[in-house]
């Protein structure tokens, strides 16, 4: 009971901190909830340190490099139907065809997606898409910067995109799998391990070289996201003058 009360007090405190009047700097950065976001990032750091990283460590210990690559390939492959739908929603016919080709080749020749012959032998490279990017292509703005517990940076547009992808767009929702909840739980658990394992060194590098890790992460997230939305197309005109 004390634990629950404690959590409620902390949550209320975070909320109140987030409700303080935003400074001009916060508004300029479109981050009016910065104090709350900073606290959430600290919380995420603790979850990462005490739970996620040790779990990833065990994963790396038990599963060798080729096994982890196979898991990565499988997870990428089962997300391709979602990528395909978002390619179509964005009117990217060529990219949709590429996604379909990759899914067909890797699911068959690639043995249910554990291998990636589409890239390696057929030279059909992969790309990512999600409903957050689709909303951006349709003209929806990012919204104020937000850091979600556990998930990390999730401005409103991207959070909505994630929810729509997970609950509506993902075709696997409509495939009758026995014990669907275990399939979902296993998939998201391994997605977490895979993603965190892949980003570990990069995150370490950013933390090491930053005077303000929160602001670095915010900048990196936005730049990376905008690059994804442009599908990697360079946009020289959008850069600030030196």
């Amino acid at each position: 009971m004390r634990g629950v009360r404690g959590m409620l007090v902390v949550t209320a405190g975070l909320w109140l901190a987030g409700c303080s009047t935003p400074t001009p700097g916060m508004l300029a950065a479109n981050d009016p909830y910065e104090p709350m976001n900073r606290e959430t990032l600290k919380l995420n750091g603790k979850i990462d340190h005490y739970f996620v990283i040790p779990t990833v460590g065990i994963y790396f210990f038990l599963v060798g490099d080729s096994g982890r690559r196979a898991v990565h390939n499988f997870l990428q492959n089962i997300s391709l139907p979602t990528v395909f739908v978002n390619d179509l929603l964005q009117g990217e016919g060529r990219r949709a065809a590429q996604t379909l080709e990759r899914f067909t080749i890797n699911s068959s020749v690639g043995l249910a997606g554990f291998f990636d012959p589409a890239a390696r032998h057929f030279h059909v490279p992969g790309h990512g898409e999600d409903f957050g990017q689709t909303l951006a292509v349709w003209g929806v703005g990012e919204g104020p910067y937000l850091v979600a517990p556990f998930l990390g940076p999730q401005p409103p547009r991207d959070a909505l995109g994630l929810a729509v992808d997970t609950a509506i767009i993902d075709p696997w929702n409509y495939v009758p799998i026995k014990q669907h909840i275990w399939w979902d739980a296993g998939r998201y658990y391994f997605t977490l391990l895979d993603l965190r394992g892949q980003t570990y060194e990069t995150v370490q590098g950013v933390q090491r070289g930053s005077v303000d890790y929160y602001a670095s992460l915010r900048s990196l997230y936005r730049q990376l996201r905008n690059n994804e939305i442009r599908n990697g197309r360079p946009d020289a005109k959008d850069l600030p003058d030196f």
Binding site: D116, Q223, R230, L239
Partner: protein, 219 residues
């Protein structure tokens, strides 16, 4: 022609004029097609030659760590305009900075930036740089697009996209920023320094002290 209302002297010049116009158009069209056969735009050639040199310095197994660090520092300082990059990363705080703070910050930023660049590019030291094109941001301000090709990677995945922003100041080229996978480093530095200064009453000496500590931590 007999019924033409124009004097004969003028009508005889029209075919010649038309021939000259067609010739001029053909020359113009030919020069458009001939352009790719000329040398690559200067900014692209500059990046191709110089950045590969930087990767070779980092890949030199015959040199000690200290030698590589010193050579890379000399190389980076010759390639970039550190003062300009430092001033950019101060963002809005540049206008209220004293000349002494600005100079001290530029020095601290230089040590920090060289250490960070070395740490980033060391991971790719065995790879080959290939220029794939360029875009103009403005006059004398070019974004040169490159890919880093890993000779040991046979996975078929797309090579890493690294872009360089090159200014040509009075005929001399300088690199003022680079991006990896669409993330521009000087933009990220400006964002984090602005945030840091906002949290520390705009104190540039405090930022300088942190940058010096970070630069030391890379050695």
């Amino acid at each position: 022609m007999k019924d033409s209302p124009m004097p004969a002297s003028e009508t005889s010049g029209i075919p010649a004029l038309a021939r000259r116009a067609v010739l001029a158009l053909l020359v113009a069209a030919a020069s458009l097609f001939a352009a790719p056969a000329l040398a690559a735009p200067p900014a692209e050639a500059f990046v191709q030659a110089n950045v590969q040199k930087g990767l070779s310095i980092l890949n030199n197994h015959g040199a000690s760590t200290d030698q590589k660090r010193a050579q890379f520092e000399t190389f980076v300082l010759g390639l970039t305009d550190m003062r300009r990059i430092a001033n950019f990363t101060l963002g809005q705080y540049r206008h209220s900075a004293s000349p002494q703070d600005e100079a001290a910050f530029a020095a601290a930023f230089q040590s920090y930036a060289v250490a960070v660049y070395q740490s980033y590019f060391a991971k790719y030291s065995g790879q080959t740089l290939r220029v794939t094109g360029s875009q103009e941001h403005g006059p004398g301000d070019t974004i040169v697009q490159t890919q880093l090709i890993d000779p040991n990677d046979h996975s078929g995945q797309q090579p890493l996209e690294v872009d360089f922003r090159v200014l040509s100041d009075g005929g001399k080229f300088v690199v003022i920023d680079f991006s990896v996978a669409g993330i521009w480093l000087a933009l990220e530095e400006r964002d984090q320094f602005s945030s840091f200064l906002g949290q520390n009453n705009g104190s540039i000496p405090t930022l300088i002290s942190h940058l010096k500590d970070l630069a030391k931590s890379y050695h």
